[in-house]
């Protein structure tokens, strides 16, 4: 076991360095807190107004989680449909390749025009951003059974449904886990960008509002919270991905 201090430095030197540089930069330039607060001031605001943050975190987080689940279900569902029908897959594949490289933030205003300037647009953005990796990774996973397994299922007279349930879907699990890892960290950040533009509720809204009210510390507080949640989501999803990979391959 490495001593605690060594472990702290080895694992977090980059982050510590970043925070230290931020603090030093603000102090040396003696910035006005409205322009750029120190990390300690931001932390102070977090500790003194937990209620403001908590409510908005709840809203953004639930939208992100709900959108993540919905997007993965829709993406996997369409991938399964494409797996069943070569025609559907032929029609869908190039379209999704096209769409998966589309800058999604550019779509936010368009979606807002269609769904209204509120939470449903935020949710739609999270679903869209989750949908594409899920569809792309699920599609390729469904088509990568272990060597020889497809022959085995044919020889044993498996039905198409059995082939899906007992072979293609389990074989796609590691790929789905990768899609989950990619989408988990982005879900909350995408929700925040949408909230920033919509301006109704959530962390993104808190950021926009406090920023224009010159409560810069709170704006950075909202970003710090989002960073921590998103980074934890990324790490947790990485752990899930590793477990799934071990389980299914």
């Amino acid at each position: 076991m490495r001593p605690l201090l060594v472990r702290l430095v080895e694992d977090y030197w980059g982050i510590l360095l970043l925070l230290f540089a931020w603090q030093a930069w603000v102090v040396v330039n003696s910035f006005n807190p409205i322009v750029m607060p120190t990390p300690t001031a931001v932390l102070g605001d977090l500790v003194s107004h937990p209620g403001v943050y908590l409510g908005n975190v709840g809203i953004t987080l639930s939208i992100a989680v709900f959108g993540l689940v919905a997007g993965m279900l829709v993406g996997t569902g369409l991938a399964v449909a494409a797996w069943f029908s070569p025609i559907a897959s032929g029609l869908l594949n190039p379209l999704t390749v096209l769409f998966s490289s589309v800058p999604v933030v550019a779509l936010i205003p368009v979606i807002a025009r269609l769904l209204g300037y509120d939470t449903s647009t935020v949710l739609a953005i999270v679903v869209i951003i989750t949908f594409f990796p899920s569809f792309v990774f699920a599609s390729s996973g469904l088509r990568q059974p272990p060597p020889g397994a497809e022959d085995l299922f044919r020889v044993l007279g498996a039905s198409r449904l059995d082939l899906l349930r007992r072979l293609a879907l389990p074989a796609a699990m590691p790929n789905l886990a990768i899609a989950f890892k990619l989408a988990a960290a982005h879900a909350i950040l995408a929700a925040m960008v949408a909230e920033f533009l919509m301006g109704t509720t959530g962390l993104g809204y808190l950021f926009a509002k406090t920023k224009s009210d010159f409560q810069t510390e709170q704006a950075f507080g909202a970003s710090l919270v989002a960073t921590v949640i998103s980074a934890s989501a990324f790490l947790a999803a990485g752990w899930v991905e590793k477990k799934v990979r071990e389980r299914y391959s």
């Binding site: 980059g14 032929g90 029609l91 490289s101 269609l114 980074a231």
Partner: protein, 245 residues
């Protein structure tokens, strides 16, 4: 062959659906027919506006792309050669990737200028993708190959240059491909923080002035810029996999 035809048919169906939805106004006036958008997009009078916006965004994106790629390559290589730094740099990259882009905007605004903020936000997006793809690529050299190099008496530098770097190339190129749309998104968000021009500005202005057709034009410009270079990079990726895969 059949797949290509089906794919073309799928895209044609999508475009036709777009036109029909716009013509019949099932989704209201927010969904203009494709033909209207294309007419506006090719309108002579609009051309200078579009070209200026596209030029500014592409310039920021390209700059951010270069800076991000350089930073990602360097940090990944250093962390690979000095294993003591590896865990810390992984975490730093994960945290940088988790900072909301809308928070990066104001920071770079103080740190840099209004004009260079889009490129800076974009470079952070690119940095993460390149860092991750290079780090995992550098670990792709198989143990058997490593043993072979050890037996042949290759030193650390030779092993890196002759084995690990070539093995990482396909992964790097995939990363470069995926990084382009991310770079474009970063530039667009960065433009929201006071850039004088760009597609991001066009989008925001059109949204606030309810210029729906113009908004769609801006979106199409962004999509076009993303797809064109994404396509080019895909070709590059194929070549790299064919050579080193």
């Amino acid at each position: 062959m059949k797949q290509t035809l089906l794919g073309a048919l799928g895209i044609a169906l999508f475009l036709a659906l777009w036109e029909v939805v716009g013509r019949t106004q099932i989704l209201g006036i927010s969904w203009p027919p494709l033909s209207d958008v294309l007419a506006e997009l090719t309108d002579e009078r609009r051309r200078p506006l579009f070209l200026r916006a596209l030029g500014a965004t592409l310039e920021s994106t390209a700059l951010g792309y270069l800076w991000g790629t350089g930073a990602g390559l360097i940090l990944a290589t250093v962390a690979h050669l000095l294993p003591a730094l590896r865990r810390g740099s992984d975490r730093l990259a994960a945290v940088l990737n988790s900072v909301p882009s809308i928070a990066l905007g104001p920071i770079f605004l103080v740190l840099l200028t209004r004009e260079s903020t889009p490129a800076a936000v974009s470079s952070i997006h690119v940095f993460f993708i390149v860092f991750v793809s290079v780090s995992s690529g550098l670990q792709r050299a198989t143990p058997a190959h490593r043993d072979l190099f050890a037996v042949l008496g290759a030193d650390r530098i030779k092993r890196f240059g002759r084995l690990e770097l070539p093995a990482a190339l396909p992964s790097l190129v995939s990363g470069l491909r995926l990084a382009w749309p991310a770079a474009l998104i970063g530039a667009i968000i960065g433009e929201w923080f006071g850039a004088p021009r760009g597609i991001g500005i066009l989008i925001i202005n059109a949204m606030q002035n309810f210029q729906i057709v113009l908004l769609w034009c801006a979106v199409l410009l962004a999509v076009g810029a993303s797809l064109f270079f994404y396509g080019l990079l895909t070709l590059l990726e194929r070549a790299a996999y064919a050579r080193f895969g």
